[in-house]
């Protein structure tokens, strides 16, 4: 009996009952204490599913945020204010000079390939796929940010499709396996140059640059970023333009030293 009620309640919750049955279950919930309790437990079960899913979603974004943010965001500054007595014009001149020297010095020492990567990297997300004909295992794993799952699914199949190659490369990039990521991004570019297509071309180019930055291969990264910056129709043109010219120059100088 309890099992039958449970079945009815689940169908009632899912709104898959006929109108008449819906009214009967409603009546049962109001009149039968046991059924009401069962109904409450069922609602709590679904609430638990929703809460756990939300928890996982926030955890995934937290992870994403951590990979992008510099690690020292939480360090508090221990500087104390020092009062310096100077004439006003001296103060202004000193402040301007300190600002210029400070900015250049800060830029020189703070700009690094990984720093530029952290500032420029944006997560690549797949859109909702309602209505999409077929979702591959790779896409499914990618959507839930199961990076190892993406790679496992990619390893099971022979990767020839640029989309699958690209997603597998992104999963490697997220796992900081840069060499593997580079290889797959390069494969996408190579496929396109053989076929004359541009399928996932812009994406692979940009994220190959990101992967090279993260892996401290600044020269390769700069070359790709300059191509993207020069192409106004590139999907990631704006993102690449966010990197300051000075930062790119400093990266180049540092890479050639």
């Amino acid at each position: 009996m309890e099992d039958r009620n449970e079945h009815l309640l689940i169908n009632y919750f899912d709104r898959t009952l006929e109108e008449r049955e819906m009214r009967e279950v409603e009546e049962l919930i109001h009149t039968d204490l046991e059924v009401r309790k069962q109904w409450q437990y069922l609602q709590l079960a679904v609430e638990a599913v929703e809460y756990a899913a939300l928890y996982d979603q926030v955890a995934a974004v937290r992870e994403n945020f951590r990979t992008i943010q510099p690690v020292d965001v939480l360090q508090s500054s221990g500087n104390k204010n020092v009062r310096v007595f100077m004439r006003p014009f001296m103060r202004v001149a000193a402040a301007v000079l300190a600002l210029i020297v400070g900015t250049v010095a800060y830029k020189y020492f703070s700009v690094s390939a990984t720093h530029v990567y952290q500032k420029t990297f944006i997560a690549y997300s797949l859109t909702t796929t309602r209505g999409q004909a077929a979702i591959t295992d790779i896409e499914q794993a990618y959507r839930i940010q199961n990076w190892n799952g993406v790679i496992a699914a990619a390893n099971k199949s022979t990767l020839t499709d640029n989309k699958a190659l690209f997603l597998a490369a992104m999963a490697n990039l997220q796992l900081q396996q840069y060499a593997a990521a580079n290889k797959l991004f390069e494969q996408v570019l190579s496929n396109n140059s053989q076929t004359g297509d541009d399928y996932f071309q812009d994406e692979a180019q940009f994220y190959l640059a990101m992967s090279n930055l993260a892996d401290n291969h600044s020269v390769k990264a700069i070359a790709l970023l300059q191509q993207i910056r020069a192409d106004k129709n590139h999907l990631y043109h704006q993102q690449a333009m966010q990197i300051g010219k000075m930062d790119l120059q400093l990266l180049k100088i540092k890479a050639n030293r």
Binding site: E6, H7, I10, K37, Q38, Q40, Y41, L42, L44, A45, V46, E47, A48, V49, E50, Y51, A52, A53, L54, Y55, D56, Q57, V58, A59, V61, R62, N64, F65, I68, V73, L74, S76, I122, A123, Y124, S125, L126, T127, T128, T129, R130, Q132, A134, I135, Q140, K163, T195, G196, D197, D198, Y199, L235
Partner: protein, 213 residues
Amino acid sequence: MIRPVTKRTPAFTINMIKGSTYSDVELLAAIGRRDQLNNAIYFIYQQYSQTIQSFILANSGMPADAEDIFQETVVIFIDLVKKNKFRGEASVKTFLTAIARNLWLNEMKKRERSEIREKAFENERDLTELDISQHMANQEVKQQFLEVLGKLGENCKKLLTLVYYENMSMKDIVHHLPYENEQVVRNKKYKCLQSLTAMIKENPLIARLVNKQ
């Protein structure tokens, strides 16, 4: 022979998670929209994580505590917004701070660090006096939810998440999970929900809540 360059149909779009900025009102609206939720969560992290985590650090917390408390704060906040229990009565920052403060106090109580607890918040009393106790009443039950779901098994958890969180149809699920057809998905979902309900029923803390009602 070189094939002509084909134009791509936008099967995928890029969510520029970093780029979104919201006012308080826009943020609440974004939380209500499935396609905006990741952006909204990311924005909350960008905008408030440093302030609130610094607050925990300044009150005897370790960096890992600060991160965990902030994550839990965000989950509770979004849950309340989704259930229309927060509609902008206070600013988002004040509300988040109040949740974090409440969580951290409870955590310290759990750790029985009373001497620290007395000292903590001494300098923070006027930061927020917002009373959110009614919103936090069932927080322990929520923790139990996570524990129970953890024991349910990955396949069932995934299936129920797709049905009840992603609102995915049985037809779509067939493409996502290795089930033969919609009927198999429906049967499996029924069994999973039945097991979960039984586990919820057996949980003493949750049972107490139901018996109180």
